[in-house]
Amino acid sequence: MIQASHVSHFYGAEQVLFDLSFEIKNGEFLFLSGESGSGKSTLLSILSTLLKPSSGELFIEGESVLEIKNIDYFRQSKIGFVFQFHYLINYLNVYENIALAALEDKKQNINKILEELGILELSSRYPNEISGGQRQRVALARALVNEPKIIFADEPTGSLDSKNSKIVYSLLAQAVQKGTTVVVASHDMQIENYATQIIRLKD
């Protein structure tokens, strides 16, 4: 369970988030919607511990994020990310990119996940040697490898055509079915079909 309490955020003098409080239950597929510039990415970054809010607090499983002792291990084991741009490391091949994120005892899962996402045969290619849709699937594989409790995705289909977008959404929906909490920020209304909860940000 994720609990946001009075979260506000400023970039310099510009306020982007205004005193937000809400809860995301386990197993939910949350859709953060809103226009471009409404603060979706900012909120998602805060929810996923990648950005400290200017004020307010965030609790994950009842624990304040500020009090998590080993934030690195927490991120690696509990959270998965998918960004709009795949953000794979360019000097590592597909397998190595996933292995970089994987916990020691999850490395054995890598090939199984690649197989499930239909990209096993790309294992030894580099990010610049595969298509955009394939890259996003690798990014998804990387997010799934540690079997995290929560997956955050920021415009995961932003650079994909509708066919590839559908693939990504259904893969996320599958994760939800297995009990993972998924939070997606997007301006793409297609996700409404998959979402179990929607938060709409206004400018």
């Binding site: 990415s41 970054s45 996923s48 990648l50 950005l51 400290k52 690195d72 291990y73 927490f74 991120r75 690696q76 084991s77 959270i79 990310f81 960004f83 953000y87 490391i89 360019n90 000097y91 590592l92 190595e96 970089l100 994120a101 580099y126 990387r142």
Partner: protein, 357 residues
């Protein structure tokens, strides 16, 4: 290993760091070793014979020194003196060569120059250094406005001397209008050198007497070369090191996005710093070795370059090499790890966004 993959996958960046480190290190090596070499060669020439040097009082440059050669007789009568000789060191146009070193010495010092062919010079004759001899095929040679017969060719370990010629001190005296530039005195007992120097200095009020060791240490021209080379090589070194540090920090800045991603994936700051540490280490050590080899190659070629008249010799001391190695690695690490450490404190998402900018 991640570090090597990162270096291999970005060959252009790697080459940029590699070559900037190489150039910086080479500049340091060449400047400091050439000046060390010039000084070393000159002091070897002066040190090679004699324990005591007698020059004219108050003259800083031996080219202008004038000492009465008659003192030799009195010096030879002193206790513990085993031998002494006089020398005139000058420079003059020689045949078509615009300038060459001329060494006039008393006959008892001729054997310092190893004859390759011919005989040692009588009055009106000269022997040519091996390198100078290559320039002449005639049997005589014009020096100033006088003609000299060439009686032989010599070799010497000292580059200066191979580019010059040797004649009797009486001939050189006429040429340079003096009695002797310097007197060199050898002693049979090393413990007596100081006291002999004292006694020689009592012989005349117009002379300055120094042990060879002190002379080399205090000789103004050495100090000038030494100090200016110290300044230049320190500057080159500082610039080189700053170059290394700034290239490294540029590279690190251009990788903020990558570090942000790694932090988002749960990689620790330590993990990032560790990888960067090895990347930097591999890079700077291999560039250092490359620069060292190149410099040694160039230094080995220098004595054979005609344009430099074989005057320039370079030696690279182990302590310089190690000192440069240590500072190169230090600066490279400082340049890469410091900005990386600062960057890794930033929230991952901001790091990713900064990287895009």
């Amino acid at each position: 290993m991640t570090a090597i993959k990162a270096l291999r996958k970005n060959p252009l960046k790697s080459l940029l760091i590699f070559s900037s480190i190489t150039i910086a290190v080479m500049a340091i090596f060449l400047i400091s070793s050439v000046s060390q070499g010039v000084i070393g060669m000159y002091s070897k020439m002066i040190n090679s014979d004699g324990d005591i040097i007698v020059t004219q009082k108050g003259i800083s440059d031996t080219f202008f020194s004038n000492v009465d050669i008659g003192l030799i007789q009195k010096i030879n009568e002193l206790k513990h003196v085993s031998s002494s000789y006089a020398m005139i060191v000058g420079a003059s146009p020689v045949g078509h060569i615009p300038i060459a070193g001329i060494y006039g010495t008393t006959a008892n010092h001729f054997e310092h120059y190893k004859l390759l062919r011919g005989v040692y010079p009588k009055e009106g004759e000269v022997i040519l250094g091996e390198n100078l001899a290559k320039q002449f095929s005639t049997s005589n040679i014009n020096i100033g406005n006088k003609k000299f017969e060439i009686s032989g060719v010599y070799s010497s370990e000292i580059g200066f001397e191979e580019g010059g010629l040797v004649m009797n001190i009486s001939d050189a005296g006429v040429l340079f209008n003096r009695s002797a530039s310097m007197l060199f005195v050898s002693s049979s007992s090393p413990n007596e050198i100081e006291s002999i120097a004292k006694k020689i200095s009592d012989l005349s009020s117009e002379i300055e007497v120094k042990t060879t060791q002190n002379f080399v240490k205090e000789y103004n021209q050495f100090k000038i070369i030494e100090n200016s080379s110290l300044v230049i090589s320190t500057l080159a070194f500082a610039m080189g090191l700053m170059g290394i540090a700034s290239v490294m920090s540029m590279i690190v800045n251009s990788r903020k996005e990558e570090f942000g991603i790694m932090r988002a994936l749960g990689k620790s700051r330590f993990f990032i710093i560790k990888n960067l540490f090895f990347e930097t280490l591999i890079m700077s050590i291999s560039a250092y070795i490359f620069a060292l080899l190149l410099s040694l190659g160039i230094l080995a070629l220098l004595p054979h370059i005609e344009m430099l008249q074989w005057y320039v010799n370079g030696t690279l001391s182990l302590s310089t090499a190690l000192y440069v190695l240590a500072s190169t690695i230090f600066m490279a690490l400082l340049g890469s790890l410091l900005p990386a450490w600062i960057a890794s404190k930033t929230d991952p998402i901001l790091l990713i966004n900064q990287g895009c900018a």
